[in-house]
Structures are given as structure tokens and as C-alpha cells.
């Protein structure tokens, strides 16, 4: 597959998402088929991948373009997984919403683990999220979840045409259909039609960036440690 135009905006978006500036400069690498195979199988439902991956495969590499795209996706998976997990733990969800959050949240974590493993040292660290009360109100939670699932499916469609590796493309397609099912499930729980159109349009990363930025969900880590001498009573 010939290299399409590099999604330059993806790098900017990932840097914007990574407020702590932990993203390192992406290394220019070739596409490794074995590694892409790992991604393909991992995205099909990985839960614990580290223990079963061959060292040689883990050492293979992605192109800089695909790395940028996957980094963006990884942070989005974290954002979604965190949303479901928090809503579930707070416990304000009705039974159907809770059932969806349990399964969809587990899928998002599995996606995140798989992408993180494939990225290796290039993986973005999970950010600190503040959902601003969305997880404490079922209607707000469902609206947010539907918006993220709809847009993630549309984003993957956009990215699929820009990936260098056919193997990564195959993995992205397997991810895409799952996200579309998530969207349909959550739409049903939210009481809206699962689908309205015969054909879906892709949505660009810049639109996804705007959505994420508008939510203000990504916040700096709280500072919980220090090196000054204690002033406790002793």
C-alpha cells in the first residue's frame, strides 16, 4: 500500500491530548508484518497480551504515520474506557446502561491494551480525565457515550484510508465494526434509533480533536507527591 498524505494534524492532536508532554518523538520505522499480525489478532479481543507475545514480534516496528494514528486512537480508547469504568464504579446507572457499560468498557480497555502493546515504547501514557459529572447522570453519560462511539467509528473510517500498512488497516476494520456496534447498542439504551443513514461519512481527526477539546475532559495530573521535609506532628 502506498503511503497516503501523512496526517500531520494527528501529531498535533496527540500532543494536545497529552497535556503532560510525555510523547516522545516518533521514530521513523518500516512496517513489520509480524507486528501488524499481532495487532490484528490482539484487536480481535485481547485481554492479556504481554505474556503470550514473542520477543521478536514485539521488536518489529510501525511506520511513523501509523504510529501517529495509533497513538491518537490509544488516547481515545483510554478516554472512552475511563468514561465507562467511572460510570460503572459510581453506580448511578440503570440496569440496561450498566450492562452496556460493563461490556463496552471492557472492549475499550482491550482495544487500549492491544494498541498500547503494538506501539511499545511509543505508546502514550493514560491521561488524567475529569468527566465533570457526566458519569453521575445517566442521560448525560449516554449522550456522551453515543457521541464518542459514533465519532470513533467515523474517525476510524477516516484513518483507514490513510494507514500505510494493510495489516494495520485490517486491524482497524475489525475495530471499526465493534465501535459501530457499541454505538448502536448505546443508542438503543438511550432510546434513539440505532441507525438513520444508509451510508456513513468519515469524520476527520480535527473534528474529533475539537470534540475532545470541547469536553475539557483531559486535565493535568494532580500533584500527590513532594520531596520537601514533612511538617507532621511527629
Amino acid at each position: 500500500m502506498s503511503a497516503p498524505r501523512p496526517p500531520r494534524e494527528a501529531l498535533e492532536i496527540v500532543e494536545e491530548l497529552d497535556t503532560r508532554g510525555r510523547i516522545r518523538e516518533t521514530l521513523e520505522r518500516g512496517v513489520g508484518t509480524t507486528r501488524a499480525q499481532l495487532l490484528l489478532s490482539a484487536l480481535a479481543g485481547a485481554a492479556t497480551t504481554t505474556a503470550v507475545i514473542a520477543p521478536a514480534a514485539a521488536a518489529a516496528a510501525l511506520s511513523a504515520n501509523d504510529t501517529r494514528i495509533l497513538r491518537f486512537d490509544l488516547q481515545l480508547e483510554y478516554l472512552q474506557a475511563g468514561l465507562y469504568t467511572e460510570a460503572l464504579k459510581i453506580g448511578h446507572l440503570s440496569r440496561p446502561a450498566r450492562a452496556a457499560a460493563r461490556v463496552v468498557g471492557a472492549h475499550e480497555w482491550a482495544h487500549a491494551r492491544a494498541i498500547k502493546h503494538i506501539l511499545g515504547p511509543d505508546a502514550v501514557r493514560m491521561g488524567f480525565f475529569d468527566y465533570h459529572g457526566v458519569t453521575e447522570d445517566e442521560r448525560a453519560f449516554l449522550r456522551t457515550a453515543v457521541a464518542f462511539e459514533d465519532l470513533t467509528a467515523a474517525l476510524l473510517k477516516y484513518q483507514a484510508m490513510r494507514l500505510d500498512s494493510r495489516d494495520v488497516l485490517a486491524a482497524a476494520i475489525s475495530l471499526h465494526s465493534v465501535e459501530a456496534r457499541h454505538a448502536a447498542w448505546l443508542r438503543r439504551v438511550a432510546g434513539v434509533l440505532p441507525t438513520l443513514t444508509a451510508f456513513d461519512e468519515p469524520r476527520s481527526q480535527s473534528r474529533m480533536r475539537k470534540l475532545v477539546v470541547s469536553t475539557d475532559f483531559l486535565t493535568p495530573d494532580p500533584r500527590t507527591g513532594a520531596t520537601r521535609a514533612p511538617g507532621f506532628t511527629g
Partner: protein
């Protein structure tokens, strides 16, 4: 107008040449174009609407992985949040309710000021309020803070129980005991406060052997050492006098032997609830 016999013969000849040329083009066309044109149909043997054709071999997965198990909330999950902006904690979830205390963004140690979350509900004006455990005297004081004053939640499933009578600390993860150690607590004149508290921060790499290698700040405050420079907060820390542990030896802090506090630090995250009884 008359047409000569010679003209008719010339016209017939030209027509014959054109027909012959056309026939030659038609004959040669399939051979010249077919090699460059993509083959749109499978070979005759595979033709048919549902024929499998010859597709590339699929990629074989390098390993099998199990499907993820659905997420589960634990009954032992507790959440905390940093104070994002200075806020007033109130007795009820309403702006008109009495103020209990003011919360700043920072602790005396310069870390983010955390509160342990007990619940949440909407106030009369519709805004979301969060019920939090407060780092003030007397112990177990709680109040309501606007959700917008707090940052994102973090969850822990650990809890530390300090028994000031048996002089032992026990750390639980969910319902399992993962750590036990003897402790030193306050003297009869400066007792360790009893009640429900939480870990606010962790201090390391300081140069003070008195506190050992690691010190945890808690939300507990001593009612007997109120003039202490940093507000009389109680810590959980190491010691340079391990021979006095277990015992009633401190000004209210919980002391541990250094190897115990190092072990505890590897198991206990910030935000962990602390019960001192």
C-alpha cells in the same frame, strides 16, 4: 452531373482498404489491450456469482487471546478528587447552606489538596454537589462542595486500619489483607486522633532521619498539637528509633519501622481511606 468509370473504381478501392483496416483493428484489439487491463473476472473455472475465486491467504494470528471479561464494580471502591479551585464546603448541598470550612487547592506540603468522596446529589438549583470528608477538626467532619470545584475522580480499593490499642496497622485490598506491621502511636498526652481519614500525599527524598525514608500525609489533625507550624496534621512515617516501636511514643503521628513504611509505600496509593480506632 456525370461520374466517370475511373472515379467509381477509385472509390471502391478506397472503401475496400478502409474495411480491411477496420477488420485488422478488430482482430488485434483484444490482444493489445488485454495485457494492460485489470482482469475483472475470475478464470472460467471459478466463474459463477458465489464462486470463491482466488483470494490472498489470510493473515494468521500469532497467538490466541481470550475475550475480555465485562467490567465489574467492587464494593470496596472508594473515590477521591483534587480540589481544583478554592471552595467553600457547606453543611448541605446548597449555596445558601452554612459554611463548614474553606478548601484550598494545596496542602501545606505543596501537593494537590484531595478530598475523599462520600456521595453526590443535585442541589435545589440543579447543580451537582459532592459530599466529601474534610481534613479538619473534629474528626469525621464532612461537607458538600460544588462538583465544579473538584477535578477528576480517581478510585482506590485499598484501606488502612490502624488499631491504636493493639498497636498494629493492617492494609486491605478489597477484602484481602496485604500488609500488617506494628506501629507507634501518640502518647497519652498527645494521642493519635480516632476516626475516618484518608491519605493526602506522599513525601520522599527529604533529609530528615526523624521521619524515616517515606512519609504519608493524612487528613487527620491532632486536637492536642494545634500550634504545630503546618497545622498539626498527622502523618504515617518511618523513624530513626525503631526500638520504640510498637509503643505510645509520638505526638500523634503513626510511626513504622523503615522497612515497613517502604513496603507499605509500594502497596498503598494516595487517596486510601484510613480508619484509626
Amino acid at each position: 452531373m456525370t461520374v466517370g468509370r475511373g472515379s467509381i473504381r477509385r472509390g471502391a478501392l478506397i472503401a475496400a482498404v478502409i474495411i480491411a483496416a477496420a477488420a485488422l483493428v478488430v482482430e488485434m484489439a483484444p490482444h493489445s489491450a488485454a495485457s494492460d487491463r485489470p482482469r475483472l473476472r475470475p478464470p472460467a473455472a471459478d466463474t459463477g456469482t458465489w464462486g470463491a475465486g482466488k483470494l490472498p491467504a489470510p493473515v494468521s494470528p500469532a497467538f490466541d487471546v481470550p475475550s475480555p471479561r465485562p467490567l465489574r464494580a467492587s464494593a470496596y471502591d472508594v473515590r477521591w478528587a483534587p480540589v481544583r479551585r478554592p471552595a467553600v464546603a457547606r453543611a448541605k448541598p446548597a449555596l445558601a447552606a452554612a459554611a463548614v470550612t474553606r478548601l484550598s487547592e494545596r496542602t501545606p506540603e505543596g501537593t494537590s489538596n484531595l478530598v475523599l468522596v462520600l456521595g453526590a446529589q443535585h442541589g435545589p438549583a440543579g447543580g451537582l454537589w459532592v459530599h466529601v470528608l474534610l481534613p479538619i477538626l473534629p474528626p469525621n467532619t464532612s461537607g458538600w462542595v460544588e462538583r465544579s470545584a473538584l477535578g477528576g475522580y480517581r478510585f482506590v480499593n485499598t484501606r488502612l486500619v490502624v488499631d491504636a490499642r493493639t498497636l498494629r496497622a493492617t492494609l486491605f485490598r478489597d477484602r484481602r489483607v496485604v500488609f500488617r506491621a506494628p506501629v507507634g502511636v501518640g502518647t497519652p498526652a498527645t494521642p493519635t486522633p480516632r476516626g475516618s481519614f484518608y491519605i493526602r500525599d506522599r513525601l520522599t527524598r527529604y533529609a530528615s532521619p526523624f521521619y524515616g525514608p517515606i512519609a504519608f500525609g493524612t487528613s487527620a489533625r491532632s486536637a492536642f498539637v494545634t500550634d504545630w507550624p503546618d497545622g498539626g496534621f498527622v502523618g504515617i512515617h518511618g523513624t530513626d528509633q525503631p526500638g520504640r516501636i510498637p509503643g505510645h511514643v509520638s505526638h500523634g503521628c503513626i510511626r513504622m519501622r523503615n522497612h515497613d513504611i517502604v513496603k507499605l509505600a509500594s502497596l498503598m496509593p494516595v487517596g486510601t481511606p484510613v480508619l484509626i480506632r
